[in-house]
């Protein structure tokens, strides 16, 4: 999980447990393992369809960590839910999700079950509610193993102990007979990670894996995720609203806003030469350790409703760089600093060499506004 991809992939290939039959199945590092093409998701609502995801394209390569960043409502979780086929039946999903030469969206529930958990696994946001309260954690891990391998219950429990040890749960052998309510949030998330690892998947999708946890536990969970990735050699999609989580982990980063990708590129591209004002704004609102920060620069306003969206750039109302062009035409993703670095902004070039507090009006965070916000909260 270093930002330098090639070294990282070699480590994976040497790591025990992945050079066997599973290794040949996996193919070579750097190959595309999952490809999302023009994925759109909408939900019906009283005010018209809610277009949660609007035409998302991306590829995931073997062994890499792809970070997806965005605020609540940007469609980042819905995208991964659509990939896994976990959306409620009321959702309309179009596009393609290519995995192993097959389109997951067109597979039957049965065929999809052969892939879910076995080849593509998922980790969810809230460990407090992710585990079934009435079964022991051992049973819940063993169940994942037995869903895809014809092994005895005892064997599966042995594997559960192994997995718990891998994610560093102390006294794993005794712990397998614990119920979820007897474990802390961090421990439960480790169990969920163990479940995701159970069948050596090719892809692990982690949807805000640390958001619901204490800051003190977050680092441990990120470490457990890294262990999981090392042990399975899986490519990982790391979804978060926290750029700080992504910064040290992701090889590539995608930024989502109002259901669309607005910027994507290597971690360096996105963090050091952002070409979309929204990304710049996100970076500006991040506390930094590497240089003294006088104050943080918030982005004014809130994300738009994705019901009955007006034409134009969805970020336009909050964007200090907005022009008439932005109000009329929604920008497409296009190449900026290199073929891999894409941004959806008419004015991408004007962002060369600027920092957030030069673009965003920092007055938003003055005392009057804070007081006003506080009084609105009181209502």
């Amino acid at each position: 999980m270093t930002s330098s991809g090639s070294v990282h992939h070699e480590e994976i290939d040497l790591s025990p447990g992945s050079g066997d039959a599973a290794g040949t199945r996996r193919g070579r590092a750097g190959d595309v393992v999952l490809e999302v093409r023009d994925l759109s998701v909408s939900f019906p609502s009283g005010d018209g369809p809610v277009r949660a995801v609007r035409g998302v394209d991306y590829v995931l390569r073997r062994g890499e960590v792809l970070g997806i960043v965005g605020e609540s409502g940007s469609g980042k979780s819905v995208t991964s839910m659509a990939i896994m086929g976990l959306l409620p039946t009321t959702a309309t999903v179009t596009g393609q999700v290519l995995f192993d030469g097959r389109d997951l969206l067109s597979l039957s529930e049965n065929a999809l079950n052969g892939i879910r958990g076995a080849r593509v696994a998922m980790i969810f946001q809230d460990p407090m509610t992710s585990l079934n309260p009435v079964y022991t954690i051992g049973a819940q891990i063993a169940e994942a193993v037995r869903a895809h391998h014809d092994v005895s219950k005892e064997k599966a429990l042995e594997r559960a102990v192994e997995l718990l040890e891998t994610v560093r749960i102390p006294n794993a052998r005794e712990r397998i007979s614990s119920f979820p309510h007897e474990l802390s949030g961090g421990m439960r998330q480790r169990v969920v990670i163990a479940i995701a690892m159970a069948n050596d998947p090719d892809v692990i999708i982690a949807d805000e894996p640390t958001t619901a946890l204490d800051v003190t536990v977050q680092a441990q969970i990120m470490e457990a995720l890294q262990v999981a990735q090392d042990a399975t050699g899986a490519a990982m999609v790391l979804i978060t609203h926290d750029l700080g989580v992504i910064a040290g982990q992701a090889d590539r980063v995608m930024v989502m806003y109002a259901g669309k990708l607005v910027e994507s590129g290597t971690a360096e591209d996105v963090f050091y030469t952002p070409r979309m004002p929204y990304t710049l704004g996100l970076l500006g609102s991040l506390p930094r350790m590497d240089r003294p920060t006088e104050r943080l620069t918030p982005i004014p306003g809130s994300p738009p409703s994705v019901v009955n969206m007006p034409p134009g750039c969805p970020f336009e109302p909050r964007c200090p760089k907005a022009t008439d062009l932005c109000r009329e035409t929604e920008p497409e993703l296009r190449e900026t600093t290199g073929p891999e670095h894409l941004a959806a902004c008419h004015h991408a070039e004007s962002l060369v060499g600027v920092v957030a507090d030069e673009v965003f009006d920092a007055r938003v965070a003055d005392a009057d506004t804070l007081a006003k916000l506080a009084s609105e909260g009181e209502k």
Binding site: G73, P304, L373
Partner: protein, 311 residues
């Protein structure tokens, strides 16, 4: 998947800043809580239709009863007539017009059940919220009493009490309310318990608000939805209990009448005068059904999350 619940403007977090000019094109004008509830209620088709039907039934019972050519209890020369234009619900053995009787029965049954609902809600809410707010041994003691009331079959206890004290509609109402408050207090306690732990109550406490202020400004307005929903459903429960009591012969007594008493009287000649059985029963069902649908609509309107979880 919490994303798309935030997508419609109504579900905006209360603290979200709405700076004019910033999201001018996206924000629908902020609606007040009452407007929101009303709007969501109007979206519940069954509830709106039910409200219309219920209002029609109430108007029919009170206004229609006064305008109808036959008075309730008035003996007409036609006895044992099946439904006709002259007697839409037919007549009974002595010639009383069943339509006029059903309208009078509806009035009495509605009076009883609405009084029960209001009385039981007042007592039960007070009882339950005091128990829930103070907690500890006060809560334990008060709730054990509630549990004991709920251990007994209410219709049986009501029959015993009504047999000795009853007969008139307001005494029946008092007897039924004297038992139903226990249901309400359970609900009210649950609501208060969950609200007590909410951040805004803790915030108010931290700011030094008094108990009275917390109860009046924070608990009551927030519990109002549940209380109102419960009050509605209580009307339906009460009308069923009242008619059952009257049917068993322990409720409203002749010469007064209630829908249950009318069904009971019809029992003796079911095969010869079946209309006397069907019409009062139909009115009970219409009233209870529409009230339940209205209650369902109110529940959706006050708490959209409860029924439409992530759908």
């Amino acid at each position: 998947m919490p994303e798309h619940t935030v997508t419609s403007p109504e579900t905006r977090e209360p603290g979200t800043p709405v700076t004019s000019g910033v999201d001018r094109e996206f924000t629908v004008a902020e609606r007040s809580q009452t407007q929101l509830v009303l709007r969501r209620f109007l979206q519940h088709r069954a509830a709106v239709i039910s409200l219309g039907v219920l209002i029609a039934v109430i108007l029919l019972a009170y206004v229609g009863g006064m305008l109808w050519k036959y008075g309730a209890g008035e003996i007409t020369p036609d006895n044992s007539q099946p439904p006709s234009w002259d007697h839409p619900f037919g007549t009974d053995a002595v010639g009383k017009d069943e339509f006029a009787q059903v309208l009078r029965g509806t009035r009495i049954s509605l009076q009883v059940s609405v009084s029960v609902a209001i009385l039981a809600t007042l007592v039960g809410t007070l009882w339950g919220s005091v128990a829930g707010y103070f907690g500890g041994w006060v809560d334990s003691l008060m709730m054990r009493i509630t549990d004991l009331v709920l251990t007994l079959p209410l219709i049986a206890v009501a029959a015993m009490l009504a047999h000795n004290f009853g007969g008139t509609w307001y005494l029946i109402a008092a007897v039924i309310a004297g038992l139903y408050w226990a249901y309400v207090s359970r609900v009210a306690r649950g609501v208060v318990l969950s609200l007590r732990e909410k951040e805004f109550v803790e915030a108010a406490k931290a700011l030094g608000a008094t108990d009275t202020r917390i109860i009046l400004r924070h608990l009551v307005p927030n519990a109002l939805g549940s209380i109102l929903v419960n009050l509605t459903i209580l009307v339906a429960l009460a009308i069923l209990l009242e008619t059952s009591l009257s049917f068993l012969g322990f409720g409203v007594q002749a010469p007064d009448t209630s829908l249950g008493l009318l069904v009971s009287e019809a029992q003796t000649a079911l095969t010869t005068r079946p209309w006397l059985f069907y019409f009062p029963g139909l009115f009970i069902i219409i009233i209870a059904l529409t009230i339940n649908f209205i209650g369902d609509g109110l529940r959706d309107a006050f708490d959209p999350q409860q029924t439409k979880v992530r759908q």
